[in-house]
Assembly symmetry: C2
Homo-oligomer: 334 residues x 2
DNA sequence: CTGAAAGCGCTAACAC
DNA sequence: GTGTTAGCGCTTTCAG
């Protein structure tokens, strides 16, 4: 059996209270017995059980992260950032891929509650406010990484999608492009709509009239982007640039361009969104609007931890700025 | 406060023992009280605390997964596969990215032990057998996803690297290639060496003499692959095909080829290893040796769960076969 | 069929 | 400084 605090106490010839005190550094104990107890703990390879201490009211030092799919590079990078920041605070991370399936999400929420996690970070998308509301009522600290403005008062970190779209549009405009196509991800999502709105705003400001026909809807796969972009590029009076709402779609667009015999960026400029590892892998390297993934992870954990420690009365939303990262997929319009 | 079993018992006017029984489906209770208790539980939104039940000797239904880096697509896909299979058994997953840092790994191991996980899956690489041995002595169920044959008796699932290298080499040979270069990942790793050995065996079988000068060492980044491949391609008497020991390196090789004005697969064939999402994203899509990621996750979890349930006395190693996935990056030698 | 009671390993008053 | 003791929320005999 694993050694318990009793075993340590017995071997060290002290009471369990004393052992507990040296473990937690609470109370007052002589340096002598402290060292002695420490020594015995080591000899016995004793590791205090966090499940027992959690039961006595202390926290579990565990947080849950729900996201659509860990195998998606964007979310994997988010998860890594959350893991690292959590680790700094001594928290372990439960990973919960929901596949945007509400049932799976609910099941995970329920499990996380039963395991008494100290808090939950929600980066999954299907969040029907309803369930989240339920969690909040159960007093569990929550923070969200959002693409939509939730209708709930929850600590949230989000990226300014409108600005991102604006930056993308402006960059293309500055390069002289006028016929700018947009590859949308999911028109039902606020973030997609905001990015598009931002891009169009930039066009409007530059006196260029957005063309409805230049919007195509892709999805989350390279192929969907390739196909959608293909339609755009085969049309007469084709665009000279395309703004893809995520890097995956941008890669699809790049493939479509190549299939059409168009060279990037000579014949077609492509700009993406997210700045995942995929952007560096594309050929040519993808110019894209970067989401500050590290910072998102950092801030969302900070918000949650403050919430957990009860250091914060008010909820807040942090709006992070996206940033243009120039690589080689955009060039002047010819 | 969260409702406890006492609250439920009180509201249902039964004893906590009865409530416990209906929760676990143990003992014998009349259908009538069972339904009643269930109803009360629902009304109170009561969720049994797994930390309390874990303390009474039941398991935590939690497993830990240590890996080098969650942001690496290969490991993210592994993690997802492990998560899914674990989920089927009712297990939650703690993610532990070690960055191949022994200190970080040890710290994570220690935390996992304190949290009383039911088992640990080790996919990280720095495993000095020493620490793993320590874990084994502490009776914790362990399963490994290995690239090397560990010197310990541990349940392990591994992929036949030699065969994979052989398949890659054979494929290239069948296409008529004779000057085949190899982009290695890390010569210190057995897996890299085995893949290379496999490839050379194929060459030997085909009566072609491997050329030492045609081996270059890259690493884990696209750029390192690009650079290493660049050296190979710029040499006179350049290779007509390259076998990259992982998909990332293959992408680097592809970029190098393009920079040298070589068209893939017309002027140069490239074959990778892993079959991560990157393979589909490359342009042209990468022909590669697939690691059966889903199957790896499935089997390693199955081994661990059997171990946890004590259904298995003997340790075992499962050797999975890699598989050639043909896409468009390889063509006949001209 | 149901309940009383003894732990599980640890923390936190409160004594001494 | 150190020890005693009463829980934390749940499971599990063992009576009734």
């Amino acid at each position: 059996m694993k050694p318990t605090i009793y075993d340590v106490a017995e071997a060290a010839e002290v009471s369990i209270a004393t052992v507990s005190k040296v473990i937690n550094g609470t109370g007052r104990i002589s340096e002598k017995t402290r060292k002695h107890v420490l020594q015995v703990m080591e000899d016995l390879k004793y590791k205090p059980s966090m499940v027992a201490s959690a039961l006595t009211g202390k926290s579990t030092y565990t947080i849950g992260l729900t996201l659509p799919d860990l195998a998606n590079p964007f979310f994997a990078e988010i998860a890594r950032a959350v893991e690292d920041r959590g680790h700094e605070y001594g928290f372990n991370l439960f990973i919960c891929s929901t596949d945007n399936d509400p049932e799976r999400e609910i099941k995970y929420f329920s499990l996380l509650m039963q395991k008494r996690v100290d808090g939950i970070i929600i980066a999954s998308r299907t969040q029907k406010d309803q369930y989240v509301k339920g969690l909040i009522q159960q007093q569990i600290p929550i923070a969200m990484i959002a693409r939509e403005m939730p209708t709930l008062a929850v600590d949230t970190v989000m990226v300014d999608d409108f600005l991102g779209g604006y930056q993308a549009g402006s960059h293309l405009l500055e390069l002289g492009h006028r016929r700018i196509a947009i590859l949308a991800e999911d028109m039902n999502e606020m973030s997609t709509r905001e990015r598009i709105r931002g891009c169009r705003q930039a066009m409007l400001n530059a006196q260029v009239e957005p063309d409805e026909a230049l919007i195509a809807v892709g999805g989350f796969t390279v192929d969907s982007g390739k196909e959608a972009a293909g339609r755009l590029l085969e049309a007469e009076d084709r665009p000279t640039a395309v703004f893809a709402c995520n890097d995956v779609l941008a890669i699809g667009a790049n493939q479509a361009a190549r299939r059409c015999g168009l060279r990037v960026p000579r014949d077609l400029s492509i700009i993406g969104f997210d700045n995942t590892v995929l952007a560096t892998i594309m050929d040519p390297p993808l110019t894209t609007i970067a989401q500050p993934i590290q910072e998102i992870g950092r801030q969302v954990v900070d918000l949650l931890v403050q919430e957990i420690k009860g250091e914060k009365a008010l909820k807040q939303r942090v709006l992070l700025m996206p940033q243009l990262v120039e690589r080689s997929s955009c060039g002047p319009c010819r």
